[in-house]
């Protein structure tokens, strides 16, 4: 039972970290142009992320 607080905190922290990551991807417009992203991997010289609109 002594490990319980630690485990709970760990689980919550991991969950929050994923939530934060997801929100970041959303905010940095990574879902704005899904078709374009699929095509851009074919271009040899384009590896810059989209500018923030």
């Amino acid at each position: 039972m002594t490990g319980l607080p630690l485990l709970i905190i760990l689980a919550l922290a991991m969950g929050l970290a994923w939530l934060g990551l997801f929100m970041w991807t959303l905010r940095s417009h990574q879902y704005d142009d899904p078709e374009g992203a699929a095509l851009r991997i074919l271009a040899p010289d384009d590896d810059t992320p989209a500018p923030r609109a």
Binding site: W18, D33, G36, L39
Partner: protein, 731 residues
């Protein structure tokens, strides 16, 4: 496009400025591959002062930021045009009109938060259900509360807002029972937690929100997808005009300042911004945006031109007769908006169900609480049982039942090249019992093709091809394509001249060779009653040869019409074209009921007439003149070759050549309706079993969680059957 030279100042209307950077959004509809992206971005980035140039492939949009003053916006447009792409500016207001995307983004955020919270709370709940007791249980409940309260406040907002709006107007929608249920359950659980009670329903409240948000987000994503692909009206309309002043100077004025009586100059390649009468000049005018008719017509001095048409090959001076809100185009838009009112009255199936659902559920919960209180006298138990009823009846499965099927149906249709604007369109499509079709561009391809044989000698064929290939006129292109197909190689002809409004000519060995309007080429006027446009080829020393064109029905038009009839729809044609042309097409596809020479208002009237007889009309059409009809129909469909207005007014847009998309869509919509009804049936059956249990006080948080997830999974699995149901039917 030569328009850039004359409208250099005009482009500035579309740019915005921030922190010394000027920004413009350009619509580049013809981007289609990775290579296009890098070519456009590469070329624009090389321009002086450009900071960023980014293509959004999904919306076919190019966004450019550059240092203010370093560059003319026109140069960017010219650069992209030089690469061979068609460019139109996005007005700043169009860009901000992407409100829908904002709504989706909010829903996704809410869904992410609810997903995170529900999983973590579920983790704690499982421990409680497996026997955590006393202090441990209280601690777990407390942690759950700390996660759940902000989550409900945040992720519940879309539902609270919509429920509040409905209540304020004295209506009840699906969100009312959801909002009331979630709030009551959360409050009750909080009370339990503070008093060390054994049962808290935080997991139920939050996972309910999560499930519902999935449904809501799917619905919203579907609507965005269609909105991005369907161009908005008036985007192509010029926002200003070059006015010819009395002293001969020209000045560029925004459209709001253009008054009837002024003279304006329309350059070759420019859209006419107003309704007017041509003063000087003669040009081929492309009316496809307005009528969907692909064959340009000649406009000379004294002819009327309409806003939205394009002068193809020469400049025109036009005296303004109507501008802005008074143009023919604006009239049509108003007619369309008026026609749309009727459709807005359609209530979606889910809302119709919830109209009865909410009051029943709430009275059941109230009765339960009251009965327990009267029977046992313990208000706490009574309250807890009432809340259990609320959480069991929360329309979780019901909320997923409809969007799950509709999203699947729209994905299925999209794979077959049909875009769906929203879920209600699918429901309305399934109800259609009569189809009204337009002719040009709908039954037919809207592209003229050669009628019969080309009566040209082989060497004349080569000359005609050489001339035809120099023009972008659809008839020339049609002729060139046909000749190439027959293996003709172009003759060597130098110095081909394009004569505005007439045709092409070149100097041959024995004189001037002409290809163009029959009277100009010397073949006399085109015969009245011809099935389509006619051009003529003339060469000194020989009689001019007429080449007839007609608009071919789509290859599968007859089959598609047969299939619609077999599905129980009455099919008829309303066309604005001449009777003899319509008659021929009608015979080819086998439709008995038709009407020719219809005006836009006439089409709407004909549709209204059918609706008054109690029919649900499916309208298929393409041009701007079909816009009002498309809007007036119970449900409507347009080919992707349709004018922007047609696409904006239609519920479905189909890509590709085949008219068979229409019966296929109808089949999918009918299957979807069947599944939606089954799903609603399942959700109600689940309630019939679970509600009595809840009323008897036998539902613990564990049972509630299992029942809720179980019914949701059942409903989604049933929705997934759509894929093979449709495949089985071979739609």
């Amino acid at each position: 496009m030569t328009s850039t030279a004359t409208t250099a100042g005009a482009l500035d209307l579309w740019t915005t400025e921030r922190d010394g950077l000027r920004h413009i959004d350009l619509h580049v509809p013809t981007i289609h591959c990775a290579n296009c992206i890098s070519r456009i971005e590469g070329a624009v980035r090389k321009l002086p002062g450009v900071r960023t140039a980014r293509v959004n492939f999904s919306t076919r949009r190019l966004s450019v930021d550059w240092e203010d003053g370093a560059l003319e916006a026109a140069r960017i447009v010219a650069t992209v045009e030089d690469l061979g792409f068609e460019v139109r500016p996005f007005a700043p207001e169009d860009v901000s009109a992407t409100e829908g995307r904002k709504a989706t983004r909010e829903l996704i955020r809410c869904m992410a938060v609810a997903g995170f919270a529900s999983m973590n709370i579920m983790l704690l709940s499982v421990s409680v259900w497996s026997g955590a007791e006393a202090a441990t249980r209280d601690l777990f409940h407390a942690i759950s509360a700390i996660i759940a309260l902000p989550t409900v406040a945040y992720a519940g907002r879309p539902f609270f807002r919509s429920a509040w709006n409905a209540l304020r107007h004295g209506r009840a929608n699906m969100d009312v029972p959801i909002a009331v249920g979630v709030l009551l359950v959360t409050a009750m659980s909080l009370y339990e937690t503070l008093n060390s009670g054994p049962h808290a329903y935080f997991d139920g409240a939050v996972s309910l929100l999560f499930f519902l948000l999935i449904g809501r987000t799917l619905d919203s994503v579907m609507r965005d997808r269609a909105r991005a692909s369907v161009a908005q009206l008036l985007k192509q309309m010029p926002r200003g005009a070059t006015v010819l002043m009395e002293d001969g100077r020209t000045e560029y004025h925004p459209i709001a300042e253009i008054r009837p009586g002024l003279s304006i100059v329309v350059a070759a390649g420019e859209r006419v911004p107003v309704d007017g009468v041509v003063l000087t000049g003669s040009a081929m005018v492309d009316r496809s945006l307005v009528t969907g008719e692909s064959v340009p017509e000649t406009a000379g001095a004294g002819d009327k031109v309409l806003a939205g048409t394009m002068a193809l090959d020469a400049a025109l001076t036009v005296r303004v007769t109507a501008a802005g809100q008074n143009t023919f185009m604006a009239d049509l838009v108003r007619l369309m908006e008026a026609a749309e009112q009727g459709r807005a009255a359609y209530v979606r199936l889910a809302d119709r169900v919830s109209r009865y659902y909410a009051p029943v559920v709430h009275s059941l919960a109230a009765v339960t609480g009251l009965a327990w209180w009267l029977a046992g006298g313990d208000w706490h138990t009574a309250m807890l049982t009432a809340v259990a009823v609320l959480i069991i009846t929360c329309p979780c499965a019901l909320g997923l039942a409809v969007p799950a099927v509709q999203v699947l149906a729209s994905t299925l249709l999209m794979r077959r090249g049909v875009l769906v604007k929203d879920g209600s369109a699918l429901e309305r499509m399934a109800e259609a019992d009569i189809a009204v079709l337009d002719k040009t561009g709908t039954i037919t391809l809207g592209r003229p093709q050669i009628d019969g044989d080309i009566a040209l000698a082989p060497e004349d064929c080569a000359l005609a091809l050489a001339l035809a290939e120099r023009s972008t006129h659809p008839l020339s292109r049609g002729l060139a394509a046909e000749l190439r197909k027959r293996g003709v190689a172009p003759a060597d002809v130098s110095a081909v001249r394009e004569v505005a409004g007439a045709g092409l000519e070149a100097d041959g060995a024995d004189g001037v060779i002409r290809l163009g309007r029959p009277d100009w080429a010397g073949a006399g006027a085109a015969p009245v009653g011809a099935n389509g446009p006619v051009i003529a080829f003339a060469r000194p020393g020989r009689a001019p040869v007429s080449i007839h064109f007609h608009d071919q029905p789509r290859a599968d038009a007859a089959a598609a019409v047969q299939r619609l009839m077999k599905m129980g729809l009455g099919v008829s044609i309303l066309s604005g074209d001449h009777a003899h042309v319509v008659d021929r097409v009608v015979r080819a596809v086998g439709i008995a009921d038709w009407q020719a020479g219809c005006s836009p208002a006439g089409k709407v009237a004909a549709i209204r007439q059918r609706q008054e007889r109690g029919h649900k009309v499916l309208v298929v059409g393409d041009g701007l003149n079909d816009g009002p009809a498309l809007a007036a129909g119970h449900v409507s469909m347009a080919p992707s070759s349709a004018s922007d207005v047609g696409q904006a007014a239609a519920d479905f847009v189909f890509l590709g050549e085949g008219l068979s998309a229409v019966p296929a869509t109808l089949a999918v919509a009918r299957q979807a309706r069947r599944l939606v009804r089954q799903n609603i049936g399942l959700a109600i059956a689940y309630n019939v079993i679970a509600v009595p249990l809840a009323m008897l006080g036998m539902v613990t948080p564990l049972i509630a969680a299992v029942a809720m997830s179980g019914s949701s999974i059942l409903v989604i699995s049933n929705a997934l059957r759509l894929n093979w149901l449709v495949k089985g039917e071979n739609a």
